[in-house]
């Protein structure tokens, strides 16, 4: 897909660990290890995985908050590693983020108007009146009253704070928003509002989302395509509904089996994984999932499977589906 807004190719981020201040590092954690995906304009890509699988590191790399060890991130056709300082500024204006916890992501000492205006002032030369006008528009866009600008964050509920965080993320002609678990910290009755708001905003503004979460049902609901991550690698990528209907990779199957039923009579294949996620410091040889995989073959502990196309638009990294 050449029309993609963001194209990530073979992205890697390794962290040295275990060294003392001047000593040599004794090991490396491959937090992100060869991840490739694309996000089209106005599209949502869901990124699912358990804690420690590298979702957050991936989002930091996309936000240019960390420098990749290897691999490229192209935005609107340009590699962001080659951008000049000014262009990188512009990139940061177009790629914004909404964090999980709206209680810690909004400064308690700033008025809401100033919080939302801050990115605008940093990136655009507008008069104070124009900035105020933009802030009012943004507040209305996320369903809050424009006079909320005078208030402080503590005067808002969790759901309203998340709306403020979304308004801030959209303040600078944003093209891509990284949503890092945007509803996990909210009450159940409020989650649906935020999900619906995000969907409406996408339709109105054509903005793209990278939606990171561990709740499969929510991810599949919001995103057109879903990518499943395990120990720093993507194990399966595909259309969200198709992925739900027929997960291919054993880990994806297990994730779906583990997601809770929406009904007491819902019967589903039970795949209970044994053991826990292995340490990223010493990942298993071959396929990193093989020690927990119910379908593991001798080959899985020797050779690492590559992410190959299993059907059009569907890629999976598993020896069960590779022909040779």
């Amino acid at each position: 897909m050449d029309s993609s807004l963001l194209a990530v190719r073979d992205l890697r981020k390794h962290f040295p660990v275990g060294g003392s201040l001047f000593g040599k590092a004794r090991g490396v954690v491959k937090a992100v290890d060869g991840v490739s995906f694309t996000i089209g304009s106005g599209e949502t890509l869901g990124l699912v995985g358990e804690s420690g699988c590298g979702k957050t590191t991936t989002s930091k790399l996309v936000l240019a908050a960390e420098e990749p060890t290897a691999g490229t991130i192209e935005f609107e056709g340009r590699n962001i590693a080659d951008l000049s300082r000014a262009d990188l500024q512009d990139y940061r204006a177009k790629v914004q983020v909404v964090f999980q916890d709206p209680y810690s992501s909004l400064s308690p000492r700033m008025r809401v108007g100033d919080i939302i205006a801050e990115p605008i002032k940093a990136h655009e030369a507008l008069s104070a009146a124009e900035v105020r006008g933009r802030v009012s528009e943004l507040l209305e866009l996320v369903g809050l009253r424009p006079d909320a600008a005078r208030l402080f964050p503590h005067e808002f509920s969790g759901g309203q704070r998340q709306r403020l965080a979304i308004a801030r993320a959209l303040s600078t002609r944003t093209r891509l928003v990284v949503l890092d678990e945007p509803v996990s910290a909210l009450d159940v009755s409020i989650r649906a509002h935020i999900i619906t708001l995000l969907e409406e905003l996408q339709q109105r503004l054509g903005v793209s989302y990278l939606f990171i979460a561990h709740d499969l049902a929510a991810v599949a609901h919001v995103s057109q395509r879903t990518a499943v991550m395990y120990l720093g690698k993507l194990v399966e990528v595909g259309d969200s509904l198709e992925l739900c209907a027929g997960p291919l990779h054993p880990y994806t199957k297990a994730l779906f089996a583990a997601s809770l039923p929406s009904h007491p009579d819902e019967s589903r294949e039970e795949i209970v994984l044994s053991g826990e996620v292995p340490s990223a410091l010493s990942p298993p040889r071959g396929c990193s999932f093989h020690p927990r995989c119910p379908f593991a073959m001798p080959r899985c502990s020797e050779q690492e499977p590559r992410l190959l196309e299993a059907s059009p638009g569907r890629r999976v990294a598993c020896h069960l589906y590779s022909a040779s």
């Binding site: 804690s51 759901g159 009450d187 159940v188 929510a218 509904l241 583990a258 809770l260 007491p264």
Partner: protein
């Protein structure tokens, strides 16, 4: 036969600011739990589910007190017990599994010490038999190589293992009832499934009753036999788990069910308007009426009484959803 636990008209309030501010966290809650049954208590944060649990074991924070009602465990009223008597009940007859396994294990004591403690005090086990019991408990919660692991300290274990240790501690005193307060909120989904299956297996093996507190209706669907839905300190609907999912009667229950994304179905979600209420300044009439689409004038002035439309469970609503929905399910 009397139920294992019967809570009737329990009221637990928090009093602050010299008595000027009263938070009615639990305000007239009644339910009962039979031996070997799993009762689910569902609701959003701040609806009073955790306060209900703390009140049952009489461990409310200093500002909270039980202002009315009865908590009968096998016929004995726990509200009338002294703290010394409660110490002989907690761990021995009622155990709790708290929310955060990182915070509920003592970092300074080994796994052996912490699992052995309830068995030492409540079952008077000593020496080799105590050691044997700890090994059995750890094996029951599927800790690999228990004889080696029990010398470890909490920081050496992963989150899932720590939560299983907490499960072993809850079992150690041989209780008839375990209160599990959101035991899986901090766990990953695959580990959560492991843990829920483990609890079910333990329940099958020992016949212990469970009170399962959660905000996750999926966990309710998987684990519970009967469910109470709490809103603003009251149980607004109580039913069997199937009844709840097929024929929700209270508009709040229905709204909760409609607000959750279902796997593989992309239908629009229903967002409940407004905010959960402030428990120190509840609206007049039914506490849910400002957010309810079916609200009528009566809901704004008069609080609905608890009634049972057809025997199974009960609901607190002037205009419950009738059987029209049954055809759909």
């Amino acid at each position: 036969m009397a139920p294992l636990l019967r809570v009737s008209d329990l009221r637990a309030h928090y009093v602050g600011f010299g008595g000027t501010r009263v938070v009615k966290a639990v305000d007239g809650v009644s339910f009962s739990v039979e031996a070997g049954e799993t009762f689910g208590l569902v609701g959003e944060s701040g609806c009073g589910k955790t306060t209900t649990c703390h009140a049952i074991v009489r461990l409310l924070s200093p500002s909270g007190r039980i202002v009315g009602g009865r908590i009968e465990l096998e016929g004995e009223d726990l509200v009338k017990k002294s703290q010394a008597e409660m110490r002989r009940i907690r761990g021995r007859r009622i155990a709790t599994i708290p929310q955060d396994p990182m915070a509920s294990l003592d970092p300074l004591f080994s796994i052996y010490d912490q699992v052995a403690e309830p068995a030492y005090y409540h079952r008077s086990l000593r020496g080799r038999s105590l050691r044997q019991r700890v090994m059995e408990l750890l094996a029951a919660v599927r800790i690999p190589s228990p004889e080696r692991r029990m010398k470890d300290f909490p920081h050496q274990l992963s989150g899932g293992m720590r939560q299983r240790i907490v499960g072993a501690i809850a079992q150690a005193g041989g209780p008839r009832l375990i209160i599990a307060d959101e035991p899986t909120t901090n766990l990953d989904v695959t580990i959560q499934l492991q843990y829920l299956n483990l609890l079910k297996d333990l329940q099958r093996a020992t016949g212990v009753a469970l009170i399962f507190v959660t905000h996750n209706l999926g966990i309710v669907a998987k684990m519970c036999d009967r469910v109470g839905v709490m809103y603003a300190g009251k149980i607004v609907e109580m039913q069997s788990v199937r009844g709840l999912f097929y024929r929700a009667r209270h508009p709040y229950t229905k709204a909760l069910l409609d607000s959750i994304p279902k796997l593989g179905v992309r239908q629009p979600l229903y967002g409940i308007p407004g905010q959960p209420p402030d428990l120190s300044a509840l609206p007049a009439g039914c506490a849910f009426h400002p957010r309810c689409q079916r609200a009528i004038d009566r809901c704004r002035v008069e609080e609905p009484r608890q009634h049972s439309p057809n025997g199974d469970g009960h609901v607190r609503c002037w205009l419950p959803i009738e059987e029209e929905a049954a055809a759909r399910g």
